[in-house]
């Protein structure tokens, strides 16, 4: 069956004798990996934030987050860096693809000889390697390649025209699907938890959203924050500022997820959801001055620890700045009441309309109670003290907001000028815009601040929403003088502000006198910050306290003052914001407990 051809044809292989060899003579030097080759790891240590997404995705367990001497833990950086074990690594590069900052890459280097087997476990970027500056190798493919969703789930909100004369809450809240989709984006790095002043267990309550175990999420929140309805709406969300997802996309909407959990539990379900035992025998009693976030938070934890708590509040309702500073469209009173009512339901006694220092002295409280916590906040508006501020139609934002919240009539004119670039300025601006709309059918408000828009302390969303509500924002101008004619305010003279702070970070605004403007208005409101009123501290008490050179009160880590029975927290110590107040209250409560057990001294 074999043909002659079948015998001869195999000999054509001899043709190869005349061909050049195809082998590479020196493969180590002549054969670099391809430009996209997945070789050895590189890590840009400055860019890396130690979020650990690489460790989480690594299916062989080759990556471990370790502490390294070269990196310090700070806000937004866990201080950990990935250590790679090449006994396990399969070079899939999913770690690179999921890296939240893009710091982790692979070089195209693939030859590494070492006698020591331990050498192959190393921390890229820290342990210097010859391929550290290799530009080739696997980088996360751009632009539309992601292993996560970069954009956050948009929060449904009232449109500008719907809200411009209404005090109904603007933000509508996530639906179940929206909340789960947003919770899914979380990579569980915990940077948020480290940064949150109250150290709320954010990754865990986000997981609870994902797993639809909302009551568990609610319990997790109450461990560190008894005002979740409030924080879910108006928290300054330091957590979101450091969110790992924020490096290449939108940070997780942590605040909205908190709100979603808090809203999911009905007022009458709190007891069932939290399953807290309220100790009956309360042999020691504590007085709390001021029913704001600090006081309420401390009252909650102290009540659960078995202390009898009595609160003294100058205003007719509890909540402090949360009620009297923040407009209803941001924080509706029913949400606030829900949180407060639960705290009061634990047996916390509260005496309204009682101003300590006037209606009752602090010394009296000291005598009657085992310990006193003061959280009186910053309710005294500061003035620019420019010529004209003594006019009767120059108001303080906090005063107007307080009066309006109490249901009292506040003055509204047709043309208003507001000075301030923070959230309080935005609050008064937007409140008055609504009232102008209701009264005059149009908005005529000019809000000016020293800071330009990029450095304005107000939240960007506040700024954007104020614009949508037709407010005339004028950032970057310094107020010089109020123009008054026939005892009537005509407007505000301003100069271009070049810088607000000097090199040392001190407030020292510089102006360009050649650039001026004039903002017309017949009423002027200052919202440039608030100061504390601690006149209730009698001389004897005050003499026993420590103050810094700049007049700030000094307390220890547990907010205990030098007068050891007296604890001071909240905006007058830290902040100013709600979450610091809550965190201070929690810590002060623990401090008071330790103090009363004899375990805490002021040092």
């Amino acid at each position: 069956m074999s043909k002659l051809k079948d015998i001869l044809s195999p000999f054509t292989a001899w043709n190869n004798l005349a061909r050049d060899p195809v082998t590479i003579k020196d493969p180590i030097n002549d054969r670099p990996g391809a430009a996209r080759y997945r070789g050895f790891h590189q890590n840009d240590i400055e860019k890396c934030i130690g979020c650990g997404a690489c460790e989480s995705i690594c299916e062989t367990g080759a990556i471990r987050m370790v502490e390294v001497d070269e990196v310090e833990t700070k806000e937004g950086d866990s201080g950990l860096r990935p250590e790679v074990d090449y006994g396990r690594c399969c070079f899939c590069a999913l770690c690179v693809d999921i890296c939240s900052t893009g710091s982790l890459t692979l070089s195209n280097e693939y030859i590494w000889v070492d006698e020591d087997p331990e050498a192959f476990t190393f921390v890229p970027g820290i342990d210097k390697k010859p391929w550290d500056n290799n530009q080739d190798g696997w980088k996360k493919p751009e632009p539309d390649y992601e292993l996560n969703i970069k954009e956050r789930v948009r929060m449904p909100e009232m449109q500008a025209e719907e809200r411009e004369n209404s005090f109904v809450e603007i933000v509508k809240g996530y639906s179940r699907e929206q909340a789960i989709a947003e919770a899914d984006r979380c990579i569980d790095c915990g940077l948020c938890q480290a940064t949150c002043p109250a150290h709320m267990d954010i990754p865990d309550y986000i997981r609870a959203v994902r797993e639809e175990n909302l009551k568990e999420g609610f319990r997790i929140m109450y461990k560190t924050n008894p005002l979740p309805e409030v924080c879910g709406r108006i928290c300054t969300h330091k957590c979101e500022d450091v969110c790992a997802m924020g490096h290449r996309g939108d940070p997780i909407a942590i605040r909205w997820l908190k709100r979603y959990i808090a809203d999911s539990v009905d007022e009458n379900e709190y007891q069932e959801a939290l399953q807290q035992e309220n100790p009956k025998d309360k042999d020691k009693s504590i007085a709390i001055v001021g029913a704001g976030p600090t006081g309420l938070s401390a009252a909650y934890y102290l009540a659960l620890m078995g202390y009898s708590v009595k609160m003294f509040e100058a205003q007719p309702r509890a909540g402090g700045m949360m009620r009297y500073g923040i407009p209803e469209y941001r924080l509706p009173y029913n949400a606030l009441d829900q949180d407060i009512d639960y705290i009061l339901s634990l047996g916390v006694d509260i005496q309204y309309n009682t101003r300590v220092g006037k209606d009752i002295t602090l010394d009296a409280l000291h005598e009657k109670y085992d310990s006193v916590l003061v959280g009186t906040g910053l309710h005294a508006g500061k003035s620019t003290r420019i010529p004209g501020t003594d006019h009767e139609h120059v108001y303080q934002a906090v005063d107007l907001l307080r009066e309006f919240s109490k249901g009292n009539e506040i003055p509204i004119s047709e043309k208003i000028v507001i000075i301030g670039g923070g959230n309080v300025a935005m609050d008064i601006t937007r409140t008055l815009a609504r009232l102008q709309n209701q009264k005059y059918g149009q908005v005529n408000i000019t809000t000016t601040s020293l800071e330009t828009e990029d450095v304005m302390p107000a939240d960007q969303e506040e700024i954007d929403e104020a614009r949508e509500e037709k407010v005339n924002l004028k950032p970057g101008w310094g107020p010089q003088k109020i123009e008054i004619e026939n005892n009537k305010i005509k407007g505000l003279h301003v100069q271009r502000c070049l810088s607000v702070f000097d090199e040392n970070g001190r407030f020292n605004p510089q102006f360009d006198e050649s650039q001026t403007d004039f903002f017309e208005g017949d009423m002027l409101i200052e919202a440039i910050g608030q100061g504390m009123d601690i006149s209730y501290l009698s001389k004897s008490i005050r003499d026993g306290l420590d103050f810094t050179q700049r007049g700030r009160l000094v307390v220890n880590d547990y907010f205990q003052s030098k007068q050891e029975w007296l604890f001071i927290g909240g905006d007058i110590i830290q902040g100013p914001d709600v979450i610091h107040g809550i965190a201070n209250g929690h810590k002060a409560a623990r401090g008071i407990d330790m103090y009363l057990r004899g375990d805490l001294r002021y040092e």
């Binding site: 069956m1 079948d6 996209r36 062989t60 899939c92 996560n148 899914d184 984006r185």
Partner: protein
């Protein structure tokens, strides 16, 4: 496509060798094979599987009569017992038991054959697996879906991309995501490149199994060129980890198209050379022709797929029968031959190799320049796949290769199981084929079935 055009494609590649398309076996796999098969083809005198006398499950053991059975006297072979298996009386002194494998150059991986021989002829064969169990399928149950990707492709080392594809496609199907068009083209490109590099090993490997080593080196060289292309495109040479749920991990590098097309010329050249030294080699022909016959009637009974079925006259290819990705936009025809022995199966693969090179060229010219290569997918760390189950299959170089994926709605798969062609080719079919063959041909028969033990033990 018109019949003329079909035949044009194949005749351009293979001249008159290609079998005409009017194929009597060209029918769905679930058809009753017993009735459709050509019972007389075996040329023997005994029963044929699927015919009336052999309808019981064990019947294939009584069938020792096909056209390659050597001359023998009835006494030489043990008689079948009630269970249809040969009853070997080892005390008779006529028979010897030998083990081939698990480590042996004549097996295709870690599995073992328990052979009962009489002289150098096999009278009974049992296949043993269990040497390679890595527990992949169980591991998957403890992995996030995205983490399954770098593991699943290790279930079949030499042709890992099919794993990547079927897994990604299954996840996409369950979660209602569709990969963008460009990703589909790139997936096809990688799948075909993967098939090609595999065939570049197996085609000359058939010669290697008979001691003809020379083509193997040539094949390996061309395969390295393909691996270079893989390295450029995917960042890896063997484990590409290129496809993942949602799409692929990179676009074509600059100049890739031209380089790849040029490399295909090497493939055609290699095909010509292997044709000269292997297929037109009197020794190879003598050893391979008639050896390892698969009766076409066994095809459906044993679930024979891929080139093994196509060499037995069955026009069976998932890419044509159940087109996936964009295979229906390519012009090509499935090679089918009839003689169903080792030589024919090697030849089918040789034809496949060139068809594949042709497909790669077509794909390269059709990959769109613009467009995304990955659809947005949720956070890989929390990706929960909706409850459901699916079976996704693709044509690997060995035939239909599929994953059955069950999701319980969590972020971890409830069950992933692989069904590879070797599951029957290397166990039941091999046991049957080895009887009455020469012990020297065992290795060649395994290679001709392209058995892959890793896909038996997952």
């Amino acid at each position: 496509m018109t019949m003329k055009k079909k035949n044009d494609i194949l005749s351009r590649l293979f001249g008159k060798e290609h079998r005409p398309q009017e194929n009597k076996h060209n029918q769905p796999a679930d058809a009753d094979s017993g009735k459709s098969s050509d019972a007389g083809k075996g040329g023997g005198t005994g029963s044929v599987p699927g015919s009336d006398s052999g309808a019981s499950g064990e019947a294939h053991y009584s069938d020792h009569n096909h056209n390659i059975a050597p001359d023998h006297t009835e006494d030489k072979y043990p008689r079948n017992g009630k269970d249809g298996k040969p009853e070997v009386d080892l005390s008779s002194g006529k028979y010897t038991k030998v083990w081939q494998g698990p480590n042996h150059p004549g097996v295709t991986g870690n599995m073992s054959l328990e052979l009962t021989i009489c002289g150098d002829e096999i009278v009974d064969a049992k296949t043993h697996v269990g040497y390679l169990h890595r527990g992949f399928e169980k591991l998957f149950e403890r992995r996030l879906y995205m983490q399954v990707m770098p593991t699943c492709l290790r279930m079949c080392v030499p042709e890992s991309d099919t794993n990547e594809y079927v897994f990604s496609e299954a996840v996409e199907e369950l979660s209602g995501i569709e990969a963008p068009e460009k990703a589909k083209w790139l997936r096809m490109l990688v799948l075909e490149m993967s098939r090609l590099q595999m065939l570049l090993r197996v085609v000359p490997g058939q010669g290697g199994a008979f001691g003809l080593g020379i083509g193997v080196q040539w094949g390996m060289y061309v395969r390295e060129l393909i691996l270079d292309l893989f390295e450029e495109l995917t960042g890896g040479r063997i484990y590409h980890m290129y496809m993942l749920p949602g799409g692929v991990r990179g676009d074509l590098p600059e100049g890739f198209r031209e380089r790849a097309i040029k490399t295909m010329d090497e493939v055609y050249r290699f095909a010509q050379r292997i044709d000269d030294v292997m297929f037109n080699n009197s020794v190879f022909k003598k050893r391979a022709t008639g050896t390892g016959y698969i009766d076409p009637s066994w095809v459906d009974r044993f679930g024979i797929v891929g080139p093994n079925a196509r060499a037995a006259g069955y026009n069976r290819d998932v890419r044509k029968d159940h087109p996936y990705l964009l295979y229906d936009q390519l012009e090509w025809e499935v090679p089918v031959l009839e003689k169903s022995d080792v030589y024919t199966r090697a030849r089918i693969r040789w034809m496949d190799m060139q068809v594949t090179a042709d497909l790669i060229k077509q794909i390269l010219n059709k990959i769109p320049e613009k467009g995304s290569f990955k659809a947005p997918t949720p956070n890989a760390l929390n990706w929960r796949i909706p409850r459901g189950e699916t079976y996704v299959k693709a044509e690997a170089s060995r035939g239909e290769f599929g994953y059955y994926v069950v999701s319980d709605g969590s972020a971890y798969p409830r069950r992933i199981t692989l069904r590879g062609p070797s599951y029957t080719h290397a166990i039941a079919l091999l046991e049957k084929m080895l009887i009455r063959t020469n012990i020297a041909d065992v290795g060649a028969i395994m290679v001709s079935l392209q058995t892959c033990p890793p896909e038996i033990e997952r």
